[in-house]
């Protein structure tokens, strides 16, 4: 399932590369789409002979992103997958609690590396609500449903970055001029989670 997700993510990122770059051009430097596409193309290239277990695969994805994406999003998404990989050592089946554990670990890693918090207008504003949506899940529903809810939370979280004033990353240089535009990293995070939900669904 992980490989299917990653392939689908690579496809979606590639399809949406231009719109991600346009978002980044408005409040950043216009490379987010190209950065992500380059990284996920490299990830897809590693999937023909994937490592046997989940932890090793996630680590490989993280390392691949770190060494191909560059910019701010490279270390951040790289850390996201690396830290998911570390957490994966403790999970067996990819059920809802497992995804909650993995994504929470990844998000914590992003927050630690980027020193950003919710409301700073970054990818965290899509990722944090997604994890919260999974955590909010009471009695175990089926995985597709829960991941769909997480993806929807990420999309809404990304949209909610529009009015925010950026306090981290390149958009923060703009000060108040950063308000009124969606954060590109939040948008790409929402794409990744949507691809995950679509894979499960």
């Amino acid at each position: 399932m992980l490989c299917v997700w990653l392939r689908r993510a690579a496809q979606v990122i590639d399809d949406r590369q231009d719109s991600l770059s346009v978002l980044d051009a408005v409040i950043g430097d216009g490379d987010h789409g190209a950065n992500m596409a380059r990284g996920f193309r490299a990830v897809a290239g590693k999937l023909d002979e994937p490592p046997p277990d989940v932890a090793a695969l996630l680590k490989l994805v993280g390392m691949t992103l770190i060494s191909t994406v560059g910019g701010a999003s490279g270390p951040l998404y790289g850390t996201f997958f690396l830290d998911m990989g570390k957490a994966a050592r403790d999970v067996s089946a990819l059920d809802v609690p497992a995804w909650r554990t993995l994504l929470a670990a990844g998000v914590a890693g992003v927050a630690a590396r980027g020193k950003a918090v919710a409301g700073d207008k970054t990818m965290l504003d899509a990722l944090i609500p997604a994890v919260a949506a999974l955590s909010g899940t009471q009695s175990g529903p089926d995985t597709p449903q829960a991941l769909a809810r997480a993806a929807e939370a990420a999309r809404q979280g990304a949209e909610a970055t529009i009015p925010m004033i950026a306090r981290k990353g390149r958009a923060s240089y703009l000060g108040e001029r950063s308000a009124g535009h969606e954060d590109p990293g939040a948008a790409s995070s929402a794409l990744l989670l949507t691809a995950l939900a679509d894979t499960a669904g």
Binding site: D18, S21, V22, A25, V26, I27, G28, D29, G30, D31, A34, N35, R38, I66, S67, T68, V69, G70, G71, A72, S73, G74, P75, L76, R113, G114, I165, R167, K168, G169, R170, S172, Y173, L174, G175, R177
Partner: protein
Amino acid sequence: MKKLINAPDRVVTEALEGMAAAHPDLLTVHLDPAYIMRADAPVKGKAALVSGGGSGHEPMHGGYVGRGMLDAACPGAVFTSPTPDQILAATRAVTGEQGALHIVKNYTGDVMNFDMAADLAREEGLRLEAVIIDDDVAVKDSLYTAGRRGVGGTILAEKICGGAAEAGADLGSLARLCRDVNASVRSMGVALTSCTVPHVGKPSFELGEDEMEFGIGIHGEPGRKRVGMESADRIADMLMQPILEDLPFRRGDPVLLFVNGLGGTPLIELYIVYRAAHRIAQAHGLTVARSLVGSYITSLEMAGTSITLLRLTDEMTRYWDAPCVTPALRWGA
């Protein structure tokens, strides 16, 4: 988009191949991962200087590799910080027992990627220091931003530290000197036109015939405000005043005045800006002891200029004057 390129995703590699072909006496170029190093690196007994950043700012940084300046530079994709493995490979290739100094411009991506590389390099047993350059007064340095950007001051830091390293300064002194330069340098820029990132294919922003983007960065990021077009004298004043106030520069200070072109502005205009900036500096009571005029840190084909002012110490002046032999900056040898 009209550019002298073959394909957007081959821009960086092909430019590196061009540099390798043009400067075989000065540089060794490694392609995967991409870095440029001194042809004679590692230099025994010398602390190494490593810098890097997105491409599109040429000649920075690859053009500053050579005797008396950088030992290695890591070019990322256009406007994109290089990756840790690149930086690690470059650092490894040039670093000996004296260790290495990473000179990092203050952008989230650069800082994180250099950080990760430094961690990895230290794990391998290399001695490493890192100094962050953040000289752009256009950005408010506060808890609510990523802090000031590193711009024109970077080149002055690389030249001065390069001179010191060549003269045998140890890693600790180099890091201290680099921080001194950063503490004494301020910059500000203005764009008259946008630039076009090759893989985007259209201008990063649109500017009217009567507008300029004030407080611009070097990545086509919008500046802090858009204002009406002004004369060269007025623009020089609008750039110089915040610079002078910020440090602040004081009557009697000896300074290096650096007027930079952003890529699409011809030299004749830079000299007109230099003239105005020099007069303003003099009127402020400063002694312009050294100058630099040209397109040294650019933003692809963006038209515009930035001004950088450095308060010199005798030590800085000595190392500024020291010989350097790089593709883009060369004197004394």
